[in-house]
Amino acid sequence: MDPVAGEVTATMLTARIRKELRVAGASSFLLDVSIEVSPGITILFGASGAGKSTLLDCVAGLTRPDEGRIAVGADVLFDSSLEIHIPAPKRRIAYVFQTLALFPHLSAEENVVYGLKHLREEQRRERAEAILRAFHIEKLRKQKPGELSGGEKQRIALARSLVTEPRVLLLDEPLTGLDAERKVAIVDDLRAWNTAKGIPILYVTHSREEVDALGERVIALENGSVVSAGVPMDVLDAPRRKKLAQAAGFENLLSATVLDLREADGVMRVRLGDSPCEIEVPLGYAAVGDRVQVAVRAGDILLAAERPHGLSARNLIEGRIISLERRGTMVIARVDCGVTFVVHVTPGAVRALDLTAGQRVWLVLKTYSCHLVD
């Protein structure tokens, strides 16, 4: 059935992908990238909404690009001009999701052998045994995912993907929620496994620490485009740092003009862009009239359906929802306040407040959630 399994050769993943995502409402998102991933770990770095998961979905074959070419070595998986689109089950590309997606009704061992149906029973057992040992999970084989800890589940998800001897490994923030020590332990096991196999591993993260800890190479993605690629030092400490502040988790990066300084309070007032919108931010090294960059995390902004009263937060901005876009367990709201803010809310909040595009809302920003960059 599968003659090449077991003798994977070290080959590069190349992908040129153009994919437009139509979002309900006016805005649409365009992913337009060209990347090369050589054997070893390459970090794909960018804020949520930069297009990282869409890129992985295209490579895995779960999403069909509008245009482009995806290949592992000389083996073409997708080519829009040749009308080639190999379906996901035939690509031999492993994909570990952020939610891990372990099958809840199967034991750890049954999960691990799921992708080995083409092998004979004894071979299957042999392979499973080896990978369970490599990831130190032999003792968990009979347990169901519901009985395991987060780190144990992450190890099983990795083992389940790697036991199939894939040609490429895609990891979508697989180690979130682990403390640094456990993270390092898992990554060490992954590296040890890959010294023998030497396959390209594309590792998605938005955490700067993970980049420093893992990265041999980094590709920085922003708004659907590659903004830089290279070794971590070059990419993240280049003059483009400002742009990458956004990639480091600041979804809102707004240029502003300083209006006045209030040294006694340790704050200053700035006007955002050309809008009438004025907010209070922490005092920085700036003079009245200077242009500064204000960065705000989308998760640090409160969204209210009615004008709130009696808040300690100093910045209350009125706006209108442009679009609401569901991403996993999060909803990304774009709010027009003269400048556009990206706000993360939970699906529960969207239901409770009955949020819809076009609705009038108020944004609440704490002074100290507004960071000056540059």
Binding site: A60, G61, L62, P87, A88, P89, K90, R91, R92, I93, A94, Y95, F97, T99, A101, L102, F103, P104, H105, Y114, G115, K117, H118, K144, G146, E147, R160, S161, T164
Partner: protein, 222 residues
Amino acid sequence: MEALWLSMKLAACVAAILLVIGMPVAYWLAYSNWRGKFLLESLVALPLVLPPTVLGFYALLAMGPRGPLGKLWIALFGHGLAFTFTGLILASVLYSFPFAVQPLIVSFEGVDQKLLDASAVLGAGSLRTFWRVILPLSLPGVVTAVVLSFAHTLGEFGVVLMVGGNLAGVTRTVSIDIYDRVQSLQYAEANRMALVLLAISFSVLSVVYAVNRRVWTPWPAK
């Protein structure tokens, strides 16, 4: 007692048939992106709102010696469909269709899309994904579908009367039998049968609610 046995046999046949044809229909309705899907959804749900006599009337027309189905049947087997046990099964399958398909759709749709993606990237085609992931995780829905179509068929009256008539041992089901006995003032016998049906209906619904409350599930709750 003959009537009760007949009803049980009818309900068991209908539940089994519905399980087999309900699964592909529910799968398609749960996962298809076709724009006109709502039309088929309405068609499947039709027996929920249609008066049983209306459904029975059209079924009778179709199965009668001049109806398309009846003609086909006569050509194939040499006898008609109306007023036979087979005809009763056919009509009951239509009548109980939504009770089998709706729980299946709901449980298929409830399976996390990421699990289906995980199955695909691990090399499984859609058939294997269905048997190994979707179906085991939809077990409460499957139990609900079987139990509800069984119970619903057991208690039907209007459709049976229209299509099956009232032939002892062939089409006289328990609900028709009860009606007959009440008509001939045999209240004690009617009551005995009615109590049995009441008990069955209650136990059956208890099973459905227990399964859906996860009182009993095949895997431990998270």
